[in-house]
């Protein structure tokens, strides 16, 4: 009985695992439970499809951002200039 409850997860749990999986942080057990849910839950399937698509799009776009610390120093320089 205990094993059954571990194998079947809720939709919210499945979405959470799906998110973790996009960053390679889901465990093998979590991936198995997610795949079981994907067989019978349409909502999870749609969410998973969109999630994978988003990961792919961000990877292929090669989008880049400025580091948090560099942004801080940019802000400081701008404030300094503003207060002149």
């Amino acid at each position: 009985m205990k094993t059954t409850s571990k194998l079947f997860i809720s939709c919210e749990e499945a979405k959470h695992i799906c998110d973790k999986n996009q960053y390679g942080e889901a465990s093998l057990k979590e991936i198995i439970t997610l795949n079981i849910r994907l067989i019978y839950c349409k909502v999870t399937r749609i969410y998973s499809k969109k999630n994978v698509k988003l990961t792919k799009v961000i990877k292929t776009s090669n989008v880049q951002t400025i580091n948090h610390s560099d942004k801080k120093s940019m802000k400081q320089k701008l404030h300094k200039e503003l207060s002149k």
């Binding site: 979405k15 959470h16 998110d19 973790k20 996009q22 960053y23 942080e25 969109k50 999630n51 698509k53 988003l54 990961t55 799009v57 961000i58 292929t60 776009s61 090669n62 989008v63 880049q64 951002t65 400025i66 580091n67 948090h68 560099d70 942004k71 940019m74 802000k75 320089k77 701008l78 404030h79 200039e81 503003l82």
Partner: protein, 184 residues
């Protein structure tokens, strides 16, 4: 009638990533791109009086940035004449004996259309990121684009791992929806 206002205090948070992405595809150097964005902000401050409010703040900053990028290339080109160019015909043993033609970059290797599409996609992603709440956007960028560890982000923002995943979930859902409307 002018409808847009200007607020330099929010420039870094609102536009720095967008401008950076716009620049990096044109100069291909992170440091130079960052400097150009900073210079754009400084130039924006100096010419704030000229902002008529007809265009959005971002469009106005992009027009300044474009001039900065052109100036950057002008500077490089004027330095080029003075620089000494050294070329070794046979630099490494691996390619020794190859025809020079074989070493020239393949012009068809880089797909210009694909590059343009990537740039547009990058800007669409930044547009969508700009619509997220600030903290959500920051955490999503650190996790998804900059590839920070969960632990490092949790320490930086003083949040638990489960908090982080809730934020990531909300950000991913909003991003997927936004890109669905504007890109897919």
């Amino acid at each position: 009638m002018p409808t847009n206002t200007i607020d330099p205090n929010s420039w870094v948070d609102k536009y720095s990533d967008y401008l950076f992405n716009y620049t990096i595809v044109r100069v291909d150097d992170r440091e130079i791109a960052q400097d150009l964005v900073q210079e754009t902000f400084f130039a924006g401050l100096k010419s704030m009086k000229n902002f008529k409010g007809e265009a959005s703040e971002r469009t106005w900053l992009i027009s300044i940035l474009k001039r900065k990028i052109i100036d950057h290339y002008r500077k490089i080109n004027s330095n080029k004449g003075k620089a000494e160019v050294r070329m070794n015909y046979t630099g490494d043993s691996e390619t020794e004996g190859d025809w020079l033609e074989e070493r020239v970059a393949d012009p068809f290797d880089k797909n210009a259309e694909g590059d343009l599409e990537n740039e547009e996609l990058g800007l669409a992603i930044h547009n969508c990121l700009g619509k997220l709440p600030e903290k959500q956007s920051l955490i999503f960028k650190m996790k998804t684009i900059q590839g920070f560890d969960t632990e490092a982000i949790c320490n930086e923002f003083d949040i638990t791992a489960s908090n982080l995943w809730v934020i990531i979930h909300r950000a991913r859902t909003a991003m997927a929806e936004c890109l669905e409307k504007n890109w897919f």
